[in-house]
């Protein structure tokens, strides 16, 4: 590019600008010590991994995964809501938004950049936690298998058949590809919630309002499936209740679609196709919420 800056053509959509905003959002959130949770998570995983040695091996592994996935989900949802709700009001308050939007930056790029930054942060955090969790499961699983084989040897029944059977049973509850698929599903859910929070913060007047409403929608989103079944199949009732439930069904995401963690914990297999359709659904939600957020934000008086 030898063109001088002043004559440079304006681009309506620039990946570089979005990336710049996203990367800045990541560092901004990192400096807020948001990932301190990672340390807490590691401690939880290790504690869950090495307590309760009297329970059956499968239960020990299941408990380890339950507790770890539980904290993983809480981490990702809390960050998705809190981080996203804080970002725009903070920029507005510090007037950094003025300097950013007085550059040739379209408002949708600003929104996309902020959202992408939050998603990158959550994704990175989950990736690290996935590694920690995998390591703990693997160590735990190896210890259990070694212990069981030793017990078999003591009973003089360590036939190759028995050893293989133990490895198979424990393996199903141990480290599988499903664990990573589960973490991916948690990420998808958190991404949808982040986009929803972004939408709320695009018209909300306070951060607290955004956080409360986003949490409410997160809870309703987990029950959307029930409500949808009722809305679509119940033909008897009509009137006000029907209208309200219809509205909720249209607005709310179905967060249950990403709740495959339960099954992953017990070693169920998720196909790549299923994961891809979950990803597609999440993308649809994210695009929808971000587009709506744009409609609110484009007319916002700063």
């Amino acid at each position: 590019m030898t063109e001088s800056i002043t004559t440079q053509k304006y681009k309506a959509f620039s990946v570089i600008r979005i990336w710049t905003l996203a990367a800045n959002t990541v560092t901004q959130l990192l400096r807020m010590r948001i990932l301190a949770f990672l340390t807490v998570f590691s401690l939880i995983a290790i504690a869950a991994g090495f307590s309760f040695p009297t329970m059956s091996p499968e239960q020990q592994l299941k408990l380890l995964k339950d507790v770890s996935f539980g904290s993983l989900q809480i981490f990702s949802i809390v960050i998705a809501i809190a981080a996203t709700s804080i970002l725009i009001p903070k920029d507005l308050e510090d007037r950094t938004l003025y300097t950013i939007l007085s550059k040739p930056v379209p408002r949708y790029e600003y929104l996309i950049g902020k959202l992408l930054g939050v998603l990158l942060l959550i994704g990175g955090g989950l990736l690290i936690m996935d590694l920690i969790l995998s390591a703990v499961i693997w160590i735990k699983q190896s210890l259990i298998i070694t212990g069981q084989i030793a017990a078999l040897k003591q009973e003089q029944s360590a036939t190759p058949e028995n050893v293989a059977a133990i490895k198979m049973i424990i393996g199903k509850y141990g480290l599988t590809w499903g664990v990573h698929a589960g973490v991916f599903a948690v990420f998808l859910k958190a991404s949808v919630i982040a986009a929803l929070s972004l939408l709320i913060s695009s018209f909300a007047s306070s951060t607290l309002f955004t956080i409360v409403v986003a949490f409410a929608f997160t809870i309703i989103g987990h029950g959307q499936q029930l409500l949808r079944d009722w809305f679509l199949h119940d033909t008897l009732s009509s009137g006000f209740g029907k209208i309200i439930s219809g509205l909720v069904v249209i607005i709310c995401p179905d967060l249950k679609l990403f709740d495959v963690v339960d099954k992953v914990i017990t070693g169920e297999i998720i196909s790549a196709v299923t994961l891809a359709s979950m990803g597609g659904m999440a993308t649809l939600y994210i695009v929808g919420y971000t587009a709506t957020a744009y409609l609110f934000f484009v007319d916002k008086e700063l």
Partner: protein, 252 residues
């Protein structure tokens, strides 16, 4: 303005496609057994508000683990009523998790039943009744689990164990073991089924048992139980001497 119209059009498209897509993905996930149907409404009472919200919020597995842990504490305190109700809660939260059903029935049919049987503070008649009641409770837990997980080998194996050890009924035990083997249990359980069939009094069962054990014998297996039961079956079935297995000279 052009932008806004475009975004509006996009939103309408998303709203229209949202419900059908959600329905089809839900159906797919349910078909692949990755998603349970909604919680039983009666569950709400046992869970309490927080637990209910959390289990809706994707932490169902965690809540199940917690109630499981609580039942474990009750088990250590020999508080059998609490063990039963907490394990019921656990299995209801995750009915497709076989280990929960298995453990729930084990607590009842083995731990609780034996504990009552050995309780010298109780009168003998009551001890025996409590023993039988808890063994039956263990069986009913497995039956319920098998409704959620039809032909699950783990549950069938456990059912066989109970019918063999706790409420001797060789016919049902054999049925459970062989069923377990047919659905993926190890070959050991086919032999277990055969040993139970030997205890019965009809020719069909003996023939079935003989066919199984002879097959293992022919493929080189010389387990003590095979060597014990094959001659018995040969006698009952009047197998010609030349076709019988050689009797070992000394007991293994």
């Amino acid at each position: 303005m052009k932008h806004k119209l475009l975004v509006f059009a996009l939103l309408i498209a998303i709203c229209l496609s949202k419900l059908p897509l959600e329905n089809s993905l839900t159906a797919t996930l349910r078909r692949q057994k990755l998603l349970d149907t909604g919680l039983d409404l009666s569950m709400r009472e046992s869970l309490g508000q927080m637990g209910f919200a959390a289990s809706l919020g994707g932490l169902r597995s965690l809540i199940a683990s917690i109630s499981y842990l609580q039942s474990y504490t009750a088990f250590e305190n020999l508080d059998w009523g609490t063990v039963d109700s907490l394990m019921t809660l656990t299995t209801r939260l995750q009915p497709t998790e076989p280990t929960y059903w298995e453990e729930a029935s084990w607590h009842m049919a083995y731990n609780a039943a034996s504990n009552y049987l050995n309780n010298n503070e109780l009168r003998a008649a009551i001890r025996n009744k409590l023993f039988r009641d808890h063994v039956n409770r263990g069986i009913s837990i497995l039956d319920e689990g098998l409704r959620y997980l039809p032909d699950n080998p783990r549950l069938l194996m456990k059912l066989g164990d109970i019918y063999r050890d706790r409420k001797p009924d060789p016919k049902l035990a054999a049925e459970a073991y062989l069923n377990a083997y047919d659905h993926g249990a190890k070959s050991f359980y086919e032999r277990m089924g055969a040993y139970e069939l030997v205890k019965l009094n009809d020719r069909t069962s003996w023939e079935k048992a003989y066919a199984i054990l002879k097959r293992y014998y022919d493929s080189g297996a010389r387990y003590a139980s095979i060597m014990r039961d094959l001659p018995i079956l040969e006698a009952k079935l009047e197998i010609p001497v030349e076709k019988r297995v050689p009797v070992p000279t000394k007991a293994p």
